[in-house]
C-alpha cells in the first residue's frame, strides 16, 4: 500500500490512501461505505478512501496482494479458502452478520425447505461452499447450472430454482408478477459473514489505518441502516445509474427485515462484529466437506488487534 505524501509540518495529518473494491456494481449492499464516504467519516479518521466497483469477475483478492487496492469485500468462508490457498489476507470487519445469498423459487414448485431441493437443478455459482454443506446436512443431491446473473430463465420456467441476493433479484421478479419464495442460505447452518478484508502486509504495516477504516465504515453502516441514507444513495446512483430509488429502498428494507447487517441483537450481534467462534465453526465445516485439506487456525484469518474492541460497544473514534 502506498501512502499519500502530504507534508505533516503543522498542517493536517497526512491522509492514508485507501481503495476499497466492492464485490459488485454500486448498490445498497455497499451503502454503509458510501455513507461514510459521503459524510466524510473516512476523512475524519485520517483516510483518503475511494470506492472501486466490482463486477461479475472481480479478482479482488489478487489485487489486494498486488497492492492495487487495500480493502475488498467477500464472504468469510471465501476468505478462509483464500488464506488456505496461500494468499495472505486478513479479515478486518463484518459488513453483514448474515449473508444475503438465498435460494429463490416459484411458490408453486413444491419447495418449502432445503430438503425439497433434492434432485433439482439449481442455478448457482459452481464450487460454492454452501452446496456440499447443504447437501450433506439435508442428505440431498442437486445439480448445478452456472449462475448467469440473468432472470429470464427463472421467469420462463416455473420449476426454475436460482440463487439470488435476497435484497436484489426478488424485487425484479416480483415486479413481473411472479409469486416466489426464498430460503436464506445462512439457515442451512452454514452462516458466513460478509466481511471486508485486507492483505496481511497492509494490516501489519498500517494497523491504525485498518482500525480507523473499520470504525468509520461501521459508523457509516449504522447511519445508513438507521439514519438518513440520501447522501450514500446519491453517491451510489452516481456510480451506478441503474440504481432506482424504489429498488434501493427495497434493498434496505430487505436488509432490515432479515437482520442482515446488524444481525440479531438478541444474540448480541451488532454492526461490524466478528466472532472468532463463528470463524472457527466455518473452518471446521470447510474441512468437513473437504474444501480445506487441513484446518486453519482462526488467527490465520483474523487478527484480534484489528477487530472492534468488544461486542456491542461503540465504534472507536
Amino acid at each position: 500500500g502506498e501512502k499519500a505524501a502530504v507534508p505533516a509540518a503543522g498542517g493536517p495529518k497526512p491522509l492514508t490512501k485507501i481503495i476499497l473494491q466492492t464485490d459488485w456494481y454500486a448498490q445498497p449492499e455497499h451503502g454503509g461505505f458510501y455513507q461514510a464516504l459521503a459524510k466524510g467519516y473516512y476523512r475524519d479518521a485520517g483516510l483518503d478512501v475511494s470506492i472501486e466497483q466490482g463486477g461479475p469477475n472481480t479478482i479482488a483478492g489478487q489485487k489486494l496482494l498486488m497492492g492495487d487496492i487495500q480493502f475488498c469485500i467477500g464472504r468469510s468462508d471465501d476468505v478462509i479458502v483464500t488464506v488456505a490457498r496461500g494468499l495472505p489476507v486478513v479479515i478486518a470487519g463484518a459488513l453483514m452478520q448474515r449473508d444475503p445469498q438465498a435460494i429463490m423459487f416459484h411458490k408453486g414448485s413444491g419447495i418449502h425447505g432445503f430438503k425439497d431441493l433434492d434432485g433439482r437443478n439449481v442455478m448457482t455459482t459452481p464450487g460454492a461452499n454452501f452446496i456440499p454443506i447443504m447437501e450433506k446436512k439435508y442428505g440431498i443431491k442437486i445439480s448445478i447450472t452456472p449462475l448467469d446473473f440473468g432472470l429470464s430463465r427463472f421467469l420462463a420456467d416455473p420449476n426454475f430454482v436460482q440463487q439470488c441476493f435476497i435484497t436484489n433479484e426478488p424485487f425484479y421478479v416480483r415486479k413481473q408478477g411472479a409469486d416466489i419464495g426464498t430460503l436464506l442460505l445462512s439457515d442451512t447452518g452454514f452462516s458466513p459473514y460478509r466481511v471486508w478484508f485486507t492483505s496481511r502486509k497492509f494490516a501489519t504495516e498500517n494497523p491504525e489505518a485498518v482500525r480507523a477504516f473499520t470504525a468509520a465504515s461501521v459508523r457509516g453502516w449504522r447511519e445508513y441502516m438507521e439514519g438518513d441514507r440520501t447522501a450514500a444513495n446519491d453517491l451510489i446512483r452516481k456510480d451506478n445509474k441503474q440504481m432506482m430509488p424504489e429498488f434501493m429502498d427495497y434493498g434496505v428494507s430487505a436488509m432490515k427485515q432479515y437482520q442482515l447487517v446488524a444481525g440479531d441483537p438478541a444474540k448480541g450481534e451488532t454492526y461490524g462484529q466478528i466472532r472468532p467462534e463463528r470463524i472457527a465453526e466455518q473452518i471446521r465445516q470447510l474441512v468437513e466437506i473437504g474444501v480445506l485439506e487441513q484446518p486453519l487456525k482462526v488467527e490465520d484469518v483474523l487478527d484480534g488487534h484489528l477487530l472492534l474492541p468488544a461486542p456491542g460497544s461503540a465504534p472507536a473514534k
Partner: protein
C-alpha cells in the same frame, strides 16, 4: 436502379424476418421477458438512448482498438510465420494454445498486469480476434502461385521483397476475409472484455455491463436493444472491411472484377 435493389432486398428480407418474429411470439406464446418484439425493443432503445449511447461509446473504443491490434498483430504474426518455416513449425502450436485457452482463465492475468478497464478489454478483444487473421493470412501466404514465386526467384528478390510485392498482395483476399471475421468478433470481444475486466466510468458501463445490468433487472427489451446496438457496432467494422476489400481488390481480383 441497381443501387436501389441492393437496398430493397435486405429490407424485404428484414420485413419477412420481423413478421416471422411476431408470429413466433404469437404462436409459441413466448413472453416479452424472453423474446421481446421489435417494437418493444425499439421502444426500450429509445427510452434508454442516452445510457446506450454512452455504453456504445465506451465499448466501441475497446472494440476498435482491439480490432486494430488484432488486424495489425495478426498480420505481422502471419508475416513472421510466413517468413520463416522454422518459426512457424516451432511456435504455431503455442499460438493455437493461446487462441484456444479460455479467455476467462487469462482474464485475471490481464487485469492484474494491465489494470481494470480499457487496456484489459483491448487485450481480450485482441485475443479473440487475432487468430482468424493469422490463420487466413498464413493460408494466403502459402497459397501463392508457384510460378510467380519462380519469377521472384529469377528476380533475385530478397525475402522481404518477395513478401512485400508477392505474398502480401497475393494474400489480400485471404487477409480481408480474416479481417471480416475479426470484425464480427470485435464487438463480442469487447463485450466479453467488459464482463471480465470492465469497470464503470462515472457510473456508466460499456455494452457488456449493460447486458448484465439489464438481464439482472429483467429489462429484456432493453437487453435486446443492447444486443442490436452491439450488432450496429459490428456492422461498422464489417462495412469498413468491405470497403477496404472493394478498394484493394476491385481492379484485379476475380471476386470483384466484372469481366465482360
Amino acid at each position: 436502379m441497381k443501387r436501389l435493389r441492393s437496398w430493397i432486398n435486405p429490407l424485404c428480407a428484414g420485413a419477412l424476418l420481423i413478421a416471422l418474429w411476431y408470429t413466433v411470439r404469437r404462436v409459441c406464446h413466448v413472453e416479452a421477458w424472453l423474446l421481446p418484439t421489435p417494437g418493444e425493443i425499439l421502444k426500450a432503445a429509445w427510452q434508454e438512448r442516452s445510457t446506450l449511447f454512452a455504453a456504445v461509446l465506451i465499448t466501441s473504443r475497446g472494440a476498435m482498438l482491439g480490432f486494430l491490434m488484432a488486424v495489425g498483430g495478426g498480420f505481422l504474426l502471419a508475416m513472421v510465420l510466413g517468413f520463416s518455416r522454422l518459426i512457424k513449425e516451432s511456435f504455431y502450436p503455442y499460438i493455437l494454445i493461446m487462441q484456444m485457452m479460455p479467455v476467462t482463465i487469462l482474464a485475471p492475468i490481464f487485469v492484474l498486469w494491465l489494470g481494470q478497464g480499457l487496456p484489459s478489454i483491448v487485450a481480450i478483444t485482441f485475443m479473440i480476434g487475432f487468430f482468424p487473421i493469422v490463420a487466413n493470412t498464413t493460408m494466403g501466404f502459402i497459397s501463392v502461385d508457384r510460378n510467380l514465386q519462380e519469377l521472384f526467384l529469377m528476380c533475385k528478390a530478397t525475402r522481404g521483397q518477395e513478401i512485400r510485392y508477392l505474398r502480401i498482395p497475393g494474400a489480400m483476399p485471404y487477409f480481408l476475409t480474416g479481417m471480416k471475421i475479426a470484425g464480427t468478433l470485435a464487438p463480442i470481444g469487447a463485450i466479453v472484455g467488459d464482463f471480465l475486466a470492465g469497470s464503470t466510468i462515472n457510473g456508466q458501463g460499456g455494452i457488456g455491463y449493460m447486458t448484465l445490468a439489464y438481464s439482472s433487472q429483467l429489462k429484456t427489451p432493453a437487453l435486446f436493444a443492447t444486443g442490436f446496438v452491439a450488432c450496429l457496432l459490428g456492422f461498422i467494422f464489417v462495412g469498413g472491411v468491405n470497403l477496404l476489400h472493394w478498394y484493394l481488390l476491385h481492379k484485379w481480383h476475380d471476386s470483384l472484377v466484372k469481366k465482360e
